[in-house]
């Protein structure tokens, strides 16, 4: 993963980078992070209806995502254009900033009748990497309380192959799809949407 490579560089660089930022060049982590709030919400907590929240995001996943957008290796309507504006060092600073923000899951409408099925499917197939009911992720994405359209579009992009899915996750997605079809995926989305604060 790209994360490892950047982090190794960053570990060496951190000392220098901070010393240097007083002189000029690199903006502070909060300066960089604040400029994203117009689209992602204050501190990265989204109001919806569609743009994902990025507060509390895993630093590792954040760096991966930004580098993928930067290299056009992940589809997006606008993030590819935004990510190209930042150096690896700036991305690392923002990873620190956003991972330290408290995540507030979005309150939104959901179909209560399928939440139990979604909960069950999640436990069986997704909990391993999207922990605590999808509220926490060591090195993958937070799913609980993310905007429904964003979750749906992400799953669609994975299934259509326009976004690369981690191999082990693909196995689990296929498992859900085989057992419950599109209804199963839909139930998962409703389950995550039901976890608003």
């Amino acid at each position: 993963m790209k994360y490892k490579k950047v982090m190794q560089g960053a570990l060496v660089l951190t000392g220098f980078a901070f010393g240097a930022s007083a002189l000029a060049a690199t903006p502070s982590a909060s300066m960089l992070g604040n400029s994203c709030a117009g689209c992602h919400g204050p501190n990265g907590n989204t109001q919806g209806p569609a743009t994902p929240g990025i507060a509390g995001i895993s630093a590792e996943y954040f760096v991966d995502v930004m580098l993928d957008y930067k290299a056009d290796e992940r589809p997006g309507t606008i993030m590819n254009r935004i990510a190209k504006g930042y150096s690896d060092e700036e991305i690392e600073l923002m990873a620190g900033y956003f991972s330290e923000q408290k995540y507030i899951p979005l309150t939104q409408e959901f179909d209560a009748s399928v939440v139990r099925l979604g909960d069950m499917l999640h436990d069986r197939s997704c909990e391993k990497c999207h922990e605590d009911g999808g509220k926490f992720a060591e090195d993958s994405a937070i799913l609980a309380g993310q905007p429904k359209p964003y979750l749906k579009w992400s799953l669609a992009d994975f299934r259509e192959g326009v976004r690369e899915m981690p191999k082990k996750m693909k196995r689990r997605m296929d498992e859900v799809h085989k057992a419950k079809g599109d209804d199963g995926l839909n139930a998962l989305v409703e389950y995550y949407a039901s976890q608003g604060k």
Partner: protein
């Protein structure tokens, strides 16, 4: 992992630079007031500055002076014109700012004494400041179109400041018979929200297409090109028959005589350079300049806009006064809400640092403007900006436009509309929440 390293590093070194970035992020512990900041204008720039200053350093006393009890966002006001949303959905109050400990005063600023550092209001109040931030938005050059002034604008609205005029224009569109002509006269550069008039044309065309399909929108423009030109014209072709015999949108360029000369209010006729155009609904958006107070306080130059230091946004005319948003010269950033919001955060950080005896931090800025052509077809322009050598610079390789139809899918265009609405919810929460 890296966070640990950084935190440890900060703990160990405790240098001025490290300490200031840490405290700025975490919020300073309150102590004796470090200074008084007075903000003129509670719009996008002013309200954002107030909030972010209080978040960074609660020991600073922040006062916002704004004449209106409510703020109506210009962004998404074009959706009010098409009936896609209600005027109430673009109305915000100052409860959020008060919650952040900002002193909000409902009054109109009539003068700023830069020497004595005092702001004066129409209500007869005086406010002493250590630093003043001015974000008054735009004013109109009423002398540029004959027969069009403040009073005429009550019946022939510009609707370029959202609120009552947005409602008037919407009502006129609703009252218009099918087969009518809506004439929009956009301003010359530079002006607030470069893609705005063309998004407006799109939104009105959407309404007409669904409710009054024999009508049309005629744009009579002094310019030969405009923001997102290729994307708009392709969108109009796709959805509104642009360029065909029964087009819902037509555009007269400056080269074809589109420059507005005068308005006859009674007959709703726009006299342009070559021809005159009779309208059923007429929307004239005059040329613009910085808000009046910027002139009265001596903050403008010959261009009619305010020159500023591009690291701190401190006025080049008067020290201790900062100008941001539409009123300031921020080239290459466009005059937009996202720009004003982003500049406000840089300004807040700079003022907090200066009041604390630190040097101003290195800026980083973003702009994005979404435009909605139909409820399922959205486009955007974006850019990331840095600062070097006394200038704001586009970060090479970043930003740019939504791809054209050949290089994207309608699915992505539809997502952009939902992301535009998310942007609206998030930025308004960031400013007024």
């Amino acid at each position: 992992m890296a966070n640990f390293t950084r935190r440890d590093f900060l703990k160990v070194t405790g240098t001025a630079a490290a300490a200031s970035s840490l405290t700025l992020a975490a919020g300073r512990a309150s102590a004796a007031p470090k200074g008084k900041v007075v903000i003129v204008g509670g719009g996008i720039g002013g309200a954002t500055t107030a909030r972010y200053m209080r978040m960074a350093d609660p020991s600073i006393e922040v006062t916002v002076i704004e004449p209106n009890e409510h703020y109506h966002t210009c962004f998404m006001s074009n959706e009010v014109l098409s009936g896609e949303r209600d005027i109430g959905s673009i109305r915000f109050d100052y409860g959020g700012l008060k919650g952040h400990g900002v002193n909000v005063v409902q009054d109109y600023v009539t003068g700023i004494d830069a020497e004595k550092k005092v702001v004066k209001t129409r209500g007869g109040q005086s406010f002493q400041y250590d630093r003043c931030v001015v974000s008054p938005g735009v004013d109109f050059r009423w002398d540029t179109i004959g027969g069009y002034d403040k009073n005429v604008a009550e019946q022939i609205p510009h609707a370029w400041k959202a609120g009552p005029q947005t409602v008037t224009l919407r009502k006129q569109l609703e009252a218009m018979d099918d087969g009518g002509t809506v004439v929009i006269a956009p301003p010359p550069n530079p002006f607030r929200c470069p893609p705005g008039p063309y998004e407006r044309a799109s939104q009105i065309a959407w309404y007409l297409k669904n409710h009054k399909p024999k009508s049309k929108v005629l744009i009579v423009d002094p310019k030969d090109k405009f923001s997102k030109f290729g994307l708009f014209t392709a969108g109009w072709k796709k959805h509104y028959g642009y360029g065909s015999d029964n087009a819902l949108i037509e555009w007269v360029s400056g080269a074809d005589g589109g420059k507005a000369e005068s308005v006859d209010a009674k007959s709703k006729t726009l006299q342009a350079a070559v021809e005159s155009f009779k309208a059923d609904v007429l929307n004239v958006i005059p040329a613009q300049k910085a808000g009046k107070i910027a002139f009265d306080a001596g903050l403008t130059d010959d261009s009619g806009w305010c020159p500023v230091n591009l690291k701190t946004f401190e006025s080049k005319q008067h020290s201790n006064i900062h100008v941001i948003g539409d009123a300031a010269i921020m080239s290459p950033m466009p005059k937009s809400g996202y720009s004003a919001n982003s500049q406000a955060k840089v300004c807040a950080a700079a003022v907090v640092a200066l009041l604390n005896g630190d040097s101003a931090p290195q800026p980083s800025l973003v702009n994005t403007c979404y435009s909605i052509i139909t409820p399922e077809d959205g486009i955007s322009v974006a850019m990331v900006y840095g600062y070097a050598d006394g200038k704001i610079n586009k970060v090479a390789g970043s930003g740019g436009l939504t791809p054209g139809y050949d290089d994207t899918t309608m699915e992505m265009r539809k997502r952009e509309v939902a992301f535009a609405h998310s942007w609206f919810n998030n930025i308004t929460h960031d400013v007024f929440g």
